[in-house]
Structure formats: C-alpha cells, structure tokens
Amino acid sequence: MTALLVLKGIDTFYGPVQVHFGLGMEVRQGQIVCLLGGNASGKSTTMKIILGLLRPRAGSIFFEAHDLAALSTPQIIRAGIGSVPEARRLFSAMTVRENLLMGAFARSDRAEIARDLERMLELFPRVRQRLTSRAGTLSGGEQQMVAMARALMGRPKLICMDEPTMGLSPLFVDRVLELIQAVNKEGVTIFMVEQNASLALAIAHYAYVLQAGRIILQGEAKDLARDPRIRAAYLGGETEPAA
C-alpha cells in the first residue's frame, strides 16, 4: 500500500504561539486513518495545514506527487482532497441541494454530477427528504450527513473529517461511523480527527495520537485499542494523560 498523504517535520504557529512541533504522519491509500488527541492538541490545525488554510513555518506536505505547500486551497481541493470541516460549516442560507452541488464546485461534468447527486441520496436517504430545506434548519446529525455527502460530491481520493461525531446522539454516531466505513469500502481514503478514541479505533486501520502538537504514539488501530496508555488517556481508567 502506498502513502497518499505524507506530512514531515511540520512546525505550525499562530503568531508567536507554536502549535505543531515536528509533526510527521502518513495516510495510506484506501485506509481509514485517525488522529486522536485532546482539546487544543492541534488536531484542527492539522486539517487546516493539509487544506492550505494555514501554512506551516517548516516541514513538507505531499499528496500523491503534489507539493501542497505550492498549492492554494482551491487547487488542493481540485487535486482530490475533500473536506468535512469541524462543526460541519454548511452554507446555512442555501438549500441542501445547493450545498451538495457546491461540493461538486470544482467539477464540470454536469451529467456525472447529477448521477453522483442521486447516488448520495441513496447513500443518505434522510437527506433526500430535506433536499429543498435551508441547510441551517437541519438537525446536527442531518447536517453531518449533508457535510459528508457534500465532500463526496467532489469525488475526492481523500476525505479529511474533523470530529465527524461531535455533538451527535449515540444512534447517529453509529450511523455516521457506518457511513464512513461504507464510503471507505468504495475506495475513498479517510483521514479523520477524533477525540472519541474508542469509536474511532473501532473503524480505523491506523491511528496517531497527538498531544500538545507532537505525535506521541502511533500504530495499527487494533493494537492501539489494547494499548494501556490509550486506555488510560481515552478509554476511561486513570485520568493521567498518556506519554
């Protein structure tokens, strides 16, 4: 399996404040890779630098043969990365349908887009009923579905998801995780950020643990799920953080 996305030696700053310290990571083709970490550990910032919304001060990011440092965000999207941002970030005054079509903004194959839209509605039947509603009126769970469908509409090779289960009821969380697996089975590589380690490790192939801007642990998801340090930090047990 080849690496689709490779981050090496990343240092990121907000003004004088350093968030990443030599961050390095690989996302392999066809896998679900998960980045775990507590609040303010720098997970969302990792998303931002992959998507080009923020530039690291040092290090390199490669997606296939693309050097992402040289590309703007729209170019990165066109290169084949889809994004499900933290807190969904739907276009709340636009209809659900318009939101989905915005996901295909970088494409121009009209007939194919219409086919994909139909495919999304099969994959997310709940979304079909709300197609003409304003996105802002949807429930959190429904919005998450729309956000995922919107990202898929771009036919990405890799989808980056920032806390897809945040704020959802347990039932919806299961549904979202199933959908992520289903999407992955269709060949889309998934890179997701999560705080909820047990849920994420249940569906992931590989995982990294981020703490205060450094990767402190990585491995196959099934190994990490049994790792005592992970259990201590994320799966209940002692409150002492890992490392």
């Binding site: 999207i77 709340s92 636009m94 318009e98 079509l101 996901g103 970088a106």
Partner: protein
Amino acid sequence: MGSWLDYTINGLIIGNIYALVAVGLALIFGVSNLINFAQGSVYAVGAYIGWTCFTYLHTPLAVTALIVVVACAGLGVAIERIGLRPLAGAARIAPLLATIGISLVLDQLLQIVFTPDPRALTSPLPNWRISVGGGTIGALDLLIAATGIVSAAVLYGFLRFTKLGWAVRATAQDRDAARQMGVNTDAVNMTVFAIASALGGLSGLLVGMYFNHIDPAMGFQATLKGVVAQVIGGMGNVPGAIFGSLLLGLTESYGVAIFGSSYRNLFSFALLLLILVLRPNGLFASARSTPPEPMTGSFVTPNRPVRVPRWAIVAAVVIAAAVPLIPAIPYVLQVLTNAWLFAMLAISLTLVAGTLGQISLGHASLLLIGAYASALFALDSHWPVWASIPAAGIVTALLGTALIAPSFRLRSHYVSIATLGIGEIVGLVILNWESLTRGPMGVTNIPPLQVGNIELDNPRAAYWITLGILVLLAMMQTRLLRSHLGRIFRAIRDDDVAARAHGISLGRYKAIAFAFGGFAAGISGGIAAHQYSYINNETFTSTVSISALTMVILGGMGNVLGAILGAVALTALPEMFRGTAEYRMLIYGVALLLLVRFRPQGILGTT
C-alpha cells in the same frame, strides 16, 4: 412639482439610484465584511466618464452607458487587486481605511482633471412627460426605473443560476468553507468589486443626467446614502439594500415635501441613527440583538511604541515656543497655529479611536460644536472669550457624548457608521436651526482671542496660546493613559467581551473617553472660531474628520505624541510646498494607503 404622487415618484426614482449604489455595497460587505467607502467615488467617476463620452465622443446613451459600465468594472477590479488584496491578513479595519484612502485619491484626481466646478450632464433623452394621476413621469424616470429593475433581475439570475453566482453566495456565508469546496475566493472578491463598481458607475451617470449636474465631490454623499440604505436593509443583505434604498428615497422625498429641501439629508441620517439604535441588524432581522460582528478588536497592531526621551519632548516644546521669536513671516506662524489646532483634534481622536478602539469618522463635528458654542456664547451671551472657550469645551464634551451614547453598544464598523451619521447630522442641524445658529448665513464678526482687555489679535499671541493649551491637553491625556482609566480603555479596545465579563461597565468608560476627547476637540473648535472670525456649517466637514484620522494613523494609534506629530506633518508640510495645496487630499489619501499597507503602527507606534 407639487402633488404627492410627484413626490412618491421622485422618491422611488431617487431610491432606485441609491439602490444601484447600495446593492454593490451589500455584495461587497456580504463577501468580505467590508464597507467600501470608495463606492461613491466610483459613482462619481462613472458620471464623469459619461460626461466625457457625451461631450467629446458624442456617443449615444446606450454606448455611453456601456462604456461607463465596462470602465467602472475595470476600476473596481483594480481597486480590489491593487488596493485591498495585499491587505489580506492585516487588521480587519485596514481594508476599510484603505477604501477611504482610495476614495480620497479618486475624488481628488477627478478634481484635478475636471476642475472642482460643477458641470451639466444633459440627458440626451427626449423631453416629454406624461401625466399619471396627479403627477408626471418623464423618459428619464422610466429609464432609471427600468435600469433598476433590469439590474436587480440580472443580479438575481447571476446569483441564482450561474456557477460564479453560487460561489459568491457561498463565500458570503462562509469564506473558509467555500474555499474548501474549491471556490477561488480571490476571484469572487474581484467579481463582486467589478459588479458593484459597474452598478455604481451606472448610478452616477443616471444621477448626473437626472439632476443635470455633476461635481467631483458628489461621491461622498452617495456612499453615505448607500450605507444608510444598507443599514436599513441589514448589512450585506442584497434584497434588503434595495428595500432600504426605496424606503430612504421615499423618506427623503416626503421629508423635502413637508419641510423643504435643506432637510433631505437630515432625514436620511436621522433614519440611519434610529435604525442603528433600535435595529442594528436592519429591519429584516428579528431580534434586537447586537449585530454579528466578526471584526472585533481594532486597527491597533500589537507593537512597542517608540520611546521618546523626556528631554527631547521638553526640547521640542521649547523650540516650538521659540519659533515666534525668530523674525519669521507671519504666514509660518499661522500655519503652525493651525497645526496645533489640528493636533488638539488629533489627540482627541487618538484617544477615542486608538486607545478605546472606536474608529470615529465624524470627529470634525466636535469642532463644529465647539466653534459654534464659543462663538455664540461670546456674541449672544456676551461672555468674555477666555470663558467662552472653556465653556465650549464642556458643551462639546457633554453634547458629543450624549449624541454618541445611544450607539455605545455598537461595535467596530457600526461605530464608524454611527459617528459618520452623527457628524453629518450635527452639520445639518446647524444649517437648519436658524434661530440659534443663523443657518446658512453662518456666524460673522466673532470677537478675536482676548484675555481681559488685551486683544491677542496678533499671530504671535495666538500661536503661544494655542501651543500652551495643546501642551496642557497633551499632558493631561498622557496622565490619563497611564492611570487606571487608561488601562480600562485599552482593555475595552482589546476585548470588549472579556472586559464586560470582568464587570467593566462599557458605557460608562466609553462616555468618559468621549467626554475627554470632546473637551479637547471643543476647545480646538472654540479657538478656531475666534481666529477665523467667521464660521458656518461647512467650516469643518467630513474631510476634516478623515484628515484627522490620517494624522492619528500616521502618528500611531493611541499615541499622544504621535497624534501631534501626525498633525504637524500633515498640516504644515503640504503648506511648505506651496504648489501642493490642491493636491492635499491626494497626499492624505496616498499617505493613508501607504500607512495601512506598510506601517500600520504609524511613525511612533501604537500604545
């Protein structure tokens, strides 16, 4: 005109014209949270391009309109590309100041190229009018109405059915999310500026034809009206802007019908303040909540102010005090006295805008209040000048604070709009309150500066008095800034939410700062009145407000010494190079643009 129907038609036509300006402002605000103060200047440019086409090229109206639209769209693209895009990532108020700078430059260029004199822009349309009910409608009325409707329809179609239109809407709702869908938001910005400028230019052409009158200063009022219309409809709301424009047009037209034409603008700005105070989100927003304002904080970039040693300040004051002893020409003294007066205004503004973070765009109105107060105390109440000037300072402090107080809960952009509106209102009230202010005649024969029976009518005495008062005010303000109060002001500027959470009553401290600033500005206006011996409602206009802001930014926001330095630099230097007088606002505009771009902390740094 006479019938109500006529006034209604007139109101709707004017409203249509405002709408063309306001829609552009709304698009730009929607996409980039920016009030484009250059919008009115583009409108004026449009009018002049139209005039040039009619006069020299003899093009028919349709061709002329096309040229105006294309040229103004190009100008809009240039404004965005050259003036604003480099500011991405700068403080959020920086682009707003840049558009003010661009507007100064464009207005002055028009003046240089076409002379300041107004010109006739005669409509080539046939001159028939048809009677409808009790009123009449002419060809131009119909053209303006049709332009408004067609533009709205085209814009609607664009936003609804084109890919770029979708990109514009998505960017307006969530810029980062739009980029994550692959939208090139830079291209969106450019598109929006092109559309706004094209509509603005078209509006200028139509207005010029409607009134058969254009002049290089016409843009500023247009920007103001567009902003008012936008506030009524809700900032960034495109249909709201159209509605607000029509409402504004009708309000003005009926106001003129009842009270006379000098009340036109008073009605617009009264409406503006009413909306800002009661419904800052516009008429369509449901709640009385404060506006969503992504742009908190201020222009003050965190940096260390330049430390000027005490002895250097003392030496500078001594040298300044010694200037009249050199047998210099009285002209130099006059220029410097004027600079000291401006410096008082600048330290007042630097307190409010720099230290407290409330970017006031109407500060010149404090000068007006002070000038009128002192002049009227002296003339009508026969007070001695040494009493009328301090009294003017107190009146200005109280009145200025009372005027701004209802808007204390507004933030950033909205504060700027409110102060702009208040500034206009003060001038208009002075113009219309004839029994007190003598109206458009102005106040004449104001007694010169004097203490007891000693007339200080010579340039030297005036110079020393002004300098002395300036030094006093500056020392007081420096002490204020070092005190507990100064720290609270800065806390409010840096994070008003946190300040309030710490139990700081924002209203009270804003009142204190505005009162202190009002006092200094009122004194300055008072002295000026006695020096000029004649004042009217246009002695200090919004141009003075913008000049003062430029001085403050040049010196470093919040920096007392910087404000004085900025005032001297921008008042005295242009005078020294004689020929530059007519380029003065051009210099201010370019200075503002360069500062915002390359040295936002000013010469001496922000504090």
